[in-house]
Subunit: 383 residues, 2 copies
């Protein structure tokens, strides 16, 4: 393949953004093959703005058209696994918007299916392209700072006003989206958290539904986790705080790393803290500590980076930004947070997937239908 | 009274520090009347360094001597309430080192007793003298930023090496100290937290015993709280992290306040966030935010400030830094954190004090006795 003809399924907020950047020629090795959307208003938008791109009113017809080599699935979350499976089954490669799905059981079944065929399944974890998070992972993986002792992510800078939630009938409903801030805003953070720090083994969480908005799903979450090595962690998020905070701190044997998404600061000890404790007889005192603003490569290509890597992978076999199968990890944490809060219990990972789905389905069964027209928002700079 | 003749009960780490500053003439209106300690080594230290100050080998004899108008109780924690009560009963004023006690039941009984007589009961909450915390309280109390939505205190800069715990036989034992980081290092923070943000109504906590040190009590704590108005909060502390972090963030309707104990930063919104949400139709967007480094009076007199205020109160009737009775609040939070972790349940405040004491007594009954000589440490700059 010399160039990937992409088909975008769902040209709402995210899908239309991808279409714009591909049509602008920003994605080496990728051209628009076609788009599909069930919403006539969105097809009209495509016709008006990009009249040369073929349009379909359903994904299957587009996948069968022969016009596309690969698809981007940018539909409401529940449909991600089934559409990915359909695309792979038709011999197409597929890139899923986040989250991988709404419940791990569906994603696990998809992952099993992926193993039976040879097409590429990728996921839009665009924040993995951010130089500061990449560098943080590199430092921790290198072992130079020892093992992790504590993680702490205060990620409350996802503020959304009520009009955001009113912009789509599926938004922020159990039936349409399957959750709130954990499913919509935080898949990036939950993925980065596990990518950089590893998977927790136990989660106790407190999710609050409609705390800051007129919605039925959670817009405020505090979670406490424990890792297999005994380390602990906290994850706090909300769409109700302004200006909010993005502060990820990881404490290790050799000091700590603090990242606000733009800058990475290292506090490096002269020796590992347990080594110091073993020999220091002074009662008070601590290892010497040096504060370092960590240099990175400065690259942060975000969605364009993921799309370029996807195209290059299909053309040249170079690595993806994230394999689709990795999407189950952050979703597992998200599902565990919900399940813990719903049951009032600490949840051990991997979760009981049937129990989670049964609890989710209870909420879907009584999900409130929203009325009114959907509005497509410009997401520039919001993710 | 023109000058307060103070008697210090317990001249270990803290008591000897107070003695030094009083003998250096740093405390207006206060002179050393006498000292009492059950440890001959400490009396020898006093004799060698301050031979003119009368010494007693027990507190009662000193209180009965007529040489003191007021006492500072700087003994192991369990003894605080009983010694305060004895002093007040003998017509002396009393200043308690923190914590007010080990369990709220004892402190509540003391508070009831205090109401029956007219002597002063104060407590050493020296961090209340810090200009940044005073300013933070002033801003929140003024209401200019609306109601609190979230509190978050990452207070892990209490690092202690093993030699600290090995320095005293009573230290870090259920029998001697009644707890670890919550009872020894955090009384200041728990008091400031409730002083600035108010008392929580529900607490779920995870305390880890001897996680970073060879001790039987907790040296690592994560707690989630809910306030009566629905706000939530997190408190994380440890003596195992180096360099650790001190970062108190309070989110309010009108923005947020962030304090590291030295600097106070305000993020002030152009309008309250819920007002913005009610009228903003843009989907994305947030109120404008201005970052301000808040000016304070720069004063931070710490222990000397508390001692001066105590003397001035007795001489001139001016306000104390903290009434002794206020000490029960931080201790209630501490007890609730322990109780939640011990029972694996969320604890509602006020706690069941008998249940807490029964649980504490179980741990005291099997408390490990430590052997070896106690060492007195120079606490300069450690609190």
């Amino acid at each position: 393949m010399d160039v990937v003809r992409i088909g975008i399924i769902g040209i709402g907020n995210m899908g239309s953004g991808h279409m714009k950047s591909i049509m602008a020629g920003d994605i080496d090795g990728m051209v628009m093959g076609a788009v599909a959307d069930v919403n006539p208003a969105r097809l009209k938008w495509a016709e008006e703005n990009y009249p040369t791109v073929p349009r379909f009113d359903n994904a299957t017809a587009m996948m069968d058209s022969g016009l596309v080599d690969a698809v981007i699935v940018a539909t409401p979350h529940y449909q991600h696994p089934e559409l990915i499976k359909e695309a792979l089954g038709k011999g197409l490669h597929a890139l899923s918007e986040k989250p991988a799905g709404v419940y791990t059981k569906a994603v696990r079944e998809l992952i099993e299916y992926v193993k039976t065929q040879d097409k590429t399944y990728a996921i839009m974890f665009n924040q993995r392209t951010n130089c500061v998070y990449r560098k943080m992972k590199e430092i921790i993986d290198s072992g130079e700072m020892g093992k992790i002792r504590r993680t702490n992510w205060l990620i409350t800078d996802w503020y959304r006003p009520q009009s955001y939630y009113d912009s789509g009938a599926w938004r922020a409903t159990w039936g349409g989206e399957g959750g709130g801030v954990l499913l919509n805003q935080c898949p990036h953070n939950l993925d980065l958290w596990q990518w950089i720090c590893g998977m927790p083994s136990k989660i106790t969480a407190f999710t609050h539904n409609g705390k800051w908005h007129d919605i039925e799903v959670e817009d405020d979450v505090t979670a406490y986790v424990e890792y297999p090595n005994g380390a602990t962690g906290v994850f706090i998020t909300s769409t109700g705080d302004a200006p909010g905070t993005n502060r990820l701190e990881v404490t290790l044997d050799g000091g700590k790393l603090v990242c606000d998404g733009k800058k990475l600061t290292m506090y490096k000890l002269s020796e590992f803290v347990d080594d110091f404790s073993a020999h220091w007889k002074g009662g008070f005192g601590a290892p010497e500590c040096t504060e370092i603003e960590v240099e990175t490569d400065g690259e942060n290509p975000q969605h364009a980076g993921v799309l370029r890597a996807f195209a290059a992978h299909l053309i040249k076999g170079t690595p993806l930004t994230a394999e689709g199968a990795e999407g189950i990890n952050g979703l597992m944490i998200s599902n565990a947070m919900h399940l813990s809060s719903w049951t009032g219990e600490t949840v051990t990972l991997p979760i009981d997937e049937d129990k989670f789905l049964a609890e989710l389905n209870k909420r879907r069964a009584t999900s409130r239908l929203k009325t009114g027209d959907s509005v497509t928002l410009d997401t520039e700079g919001t993710y």
